[in-house]
Symmetry: none
Subunit: 226 residues, 2 copies
DNA sequence: TTTTAATGTTACAGAAATATTACAAATTAA
DNA sequence: TTAATTTGTAATATTTCTGTAACATTAAAA
């Protein structure tokens, strides 16, 4: 069971696409095209997460949000809001009124999916897969622990994110730029060579003598997990 | 380069979502919200594939289709049509008028993506494939690995690119100049004879005893995969 | 056959990419 | 605050790759 998601969004085509994709991912999904009805159905449906459009014909997203936070049964329902490009003020209002995250339209499904997983991971950990494994390597996202051959390994924050990144797509070769984009916070400028150093640190931590090297260097291309 | 895709579809939200997702996948995408303009832009854009809505405000999908098939430059342009649920008759008409495949709304992006790859693989194979194979030779572009008869082979960066190049058009004979242009980074000046050396290195790596030579020398013309 | 042009082979020096180390600044914990 | 940890970079070491030149071999032409 992957959890239940409710969508309140007035653009039918968006609802269809998102709903279809989420169902393919194993979520149980229900939706409503307007705010007032949505609120009612929502209470019956008891979702684990709500996708909420910010611009609705009847009720505004902020009203729905407040309404939910006032309701003791829904108080802790995670909400991801869908905003149109440039509605920066709304984002701020949204975050103030208790929204957990936001996604700007147009968004790719992958982007939305990643946000949903991230939010669910915080609020409802056993709904989402939290363990990444590869061979005798295991990474627990909840407890932030890493094991090699059942022995716990201590990693610094950056090395943890780096390994987490590699584990989401083992074997695939990533360039330094790709690694930088994904593993480092946005708009941070670090030398591309810096990655070599972190790779070195990660290698040192996860390598066990007599066990094979897990990180492969692909000259002129990047690195991958092997 | 993954290829260029043009979209003619009047629902802006669908266009946005599909375009965004396709661009994330590495395609170059352009689009138009109506038929007449679309046809014009299409000719300028020169896509590898067209996504065509069947219900447009001005021109019908079938008209566009016929128009395209009549144009000698666009004759072989692969078309995937987007139909609403239950327009079965249209599908038949569509296939008769030269559509390559169709997708029924609402569709998941993955579904669409799969269709696109399938159609492109037929029409324009080297745009989409990540695995290149020829006889018992296999090159994986994602993992950057090469196998001969299921045995992994280690190649340097240049030899890898060289083999990748040959694999996109096996059997075809390439002159040294053509090889140089494509395999070497632009505005690099290397002796044409240098290629002989790399060919030699590649041969040494991919040849297995008792197996036939895979690279053929065509005296005074160049080399090819055989 | 001899000659000639094209390709094959080899070795090697410089270039390029990566690995390693050390350290100071920044961040976090105590 | 001090101490400990983490980070990014620069400097240096090491490894691997590249291009070329010199010489060898082969195939076609004369």
């Amino acid at each position: 069971m992957k959890g239940k998601i409710f969508i309140i969004e007035d653009e039918a085509s968006i609802v269809q696409l998102v709903q279809h994709n989420l169902e393919k991912e194993g979520f149980v999904v229900s939706s409503s095209l307007n705010g007032n009805e949505g609120l009612k159905e929502l209470k019956k449906f008891e979702p684990n997460l709500l996708l909420l459009d910010w611009m609705l014909p009847d009720l505004s997203g902020i009203d729905i949000c407040k309404n939910i936070r006032r309701d003791s049964n829904l108080k802790s329902l995670p909400i991801i809001m869908l905003t149109a490009k440039g509605e920066e003020e709304d984002k701020i209002k949204g975050l103030e009124s208790g929204v957990d995250d936001y996604v700007t339209k147009p968004f790719s499904f992958n982007e939305l999916h990643a946000r949903i997983k991230a939010v669910l991971r915080r609020s409802d950990p056993n709904i989402v897969a939290n363990d990444l494994t590869f061979e005798d390597l295991k990474l627990d996202r909840i407890e932030k622990r890493v094991f090699r051959a059942d022995k716990e390994i201590q990693l610094g924050p950056t090395e943890f994110r780096l390994l987490e990144f590699f584990l989401t797509n083992p074997k695939r070769v990533y360039s330094r730029d790709q690694i930088l984009e994904t593993v480092w916070p946005n708009n941070v400028n670090v030398e591309s060579r810096t990655i070599d150093v972190h790779i070195r640190r990660l290698r040192q931590s996860i390598n066990i003598k007599d066990k094979k090297e897990l990180i492969r260097t692909v000259r002129s291309s990047g690195y991958s997990l092997v």
